[in-house]
């Protein structure tokens, strides 16, 4: 794997110290890192999954809205942040790899580095309820 950009390395380092679950994706939308609090949502650790393609993580959690309707990938905050390069926020329900449904708030934003380099995106999750 090639070396990550410096801003992405620093984002990972920061996320490893924070209690909020954090996902970091590259410009292609592939999940390049998630921290330990995010492991509780995924049900698997980063060391177990490694990188995860966008096509996999955007569907693996079976995201639905409050009425149970499937949320298409293009309407997920992290996908919006990547494609439209502006922040996005949404309340969604997801089912983790451990089979538990959780209501979470997601805030996502694009990561733009020095010299206007687009580097990917970051999503922060706040768990509201668990079923």
């Amino acid at each position: 794997m090639p070396q990550q950009e410096i801003e992405v390395i620093l984002a990972r380092h920061l996320s490893e110290y924070l209690l909020m679950p954090i996902f970091i994706v590259n410009t292609a939308g592939d999940l390049v890192f998630y921290n330990e609090p995010a492991e509780a949502i995924l049900g698997l650790s980063y060391s177990e999954t490694g990188m995860m393609p966008a096509s996999e993580w955007s569907t693996v959690f079976q995201p639905v809205d409050a009425e149970g309707r499937t949320i298409p990938p293009d309407e997920l905050p992290l996908v919006i942040a990547l494609k439209e390069r502006h922040p996005a926020h949404k309340v969604i329900w997801i089912k983790g790899l451990d089979g538990i449904s959780r209501e979470i708030e997601v805030t996502a934003f694009p990561l733009v580095g020095q010299a206007d380099r687009f580097l990917g995106g970051i999503a922060i999750f706040w768990e509201k309820t668990t079923k």
């Binding site: 390395i9 620093l10 580095g113 010299a115």
Partner: protein
């Protein structure tokens, strides 16, 4: 490729009888290619003597700044070629998110910090902002990437033929990492240093000092050795010494880390006046 050291100290010039062997001038390194292209890495106080040693009929020189902290630019207005008409001086370095490289340098090269402004210099100046795509200067190909240090800071990978020099004067790859060294893909500076023939790297602190100065943007000698091992370099040149470290203290620091790490690569601590050759 010939690499000569004109300033090896970090943070503050430290001229003293106790720093005579390793030197008291701040960061400045001259890199000369097989076709006589010259690159100056950083413009610390060592650049003054370097400028006086250059041929007077030089028509171009390139100065590659890692960042704009004072110990890397303080010598710039004392660089003799800047006062000559007809010479092209190309200054490469990082802009900030809001200010150009030229504007950032003018903060120092203007009153009250300095009496002469950039536009009063006689040389034909060209500013180039980094990071960016691969740079070609004469026989050199140069990669410039951001590395971990407070304020935008560039590390360089300079190639001439097959010879590769990596220069990271101020670098804290261990910052925030829960373990160090960690995976290569998640280590600042790795891509620049990978399998380099010569790595010039920050070696500012002892381990004990690093514990109280974490986040200042520098490495311990031990971290420099571990980084060199991770990057599989052939030759490590510790650099950017703390101004409080005497020659004797530096000798002890290098000996202790060498005994512990037992590096499989060559190690030559930088000192003013040292020249190293890498076959192109």
């Amino acid at each position: 490729m010939k690499v000569s050291f004109w300033g090896t100290r970090g943070s503050l010039a430290a001229p003293s009888p106790e720093t005579v062997r390793y030197g008291g001038n701040t960061s400045c390194v001259l890199v000369e290619g097989s076709e006589e292209t010259r690159l100056v890495l950083d413009a610390g106080t060592g650049i003054q003597s370097l400028g006086l040693s250059l041929p007077p009929d030089l028509d171009r020189i390139d100065i590659l700044l890692t960042h704009l902290h004072m110990d890397h630019i303080q010598g710039l207005p004392f660089f003799a070629p800047l006062r000559r008409r007809g010479i092209e001086v190309h200054i490469w370095g990082p802009a900030s998110t809001t200010r150009s490289l030229n504007a950032r340098l003018q903060k120092y090269l203007s009153p009250p910090l300095f009496p002469v402004s950039v536009r009063e210099l006689a040389a034909n100046l060209h500013f180039h902002e980094l990071p960016g795509p691969l740079i070609k200067i004469g026989e050199f190909s140069i990669q410039a990437q951001l590395i971990i240090h407070p304020n935008p800071t560039i590390g360089y990978r300079i190639q001439c033929g097959k010879a590769v020099l990596a220069y990271m004067s101020d670098h804290e790859p261990a910052l925030g990492a829960l373990t160090f060294p960690r995976e290569r893909a998640w280590t600042s500076g790795y891509a620049l240093a990978e399998r380099a023939d010569l790595l010039i790297h920050d070696a500012q602190y002892t381990e004990a000092e690093y514990q109280t100065r974490m986040g200042f943007g520098h490495s311990s000698v031990r971290q420099a050795f571990l980084f060199a091992r991770l990057a599989q370099v052939k030759h490590l040149v510790p650099f950017h010494y703390d101004p409080t470290h005497s020659d004797d203290e530096l000798d002890k620091m290098f000996a202790a880390v060498k005994a512990e790490i037992r590096p499989s690569y060559e190690v030559t601590p930088s000192r003013e006046g040292l020249s190293l050759e890498i076959a192109c």
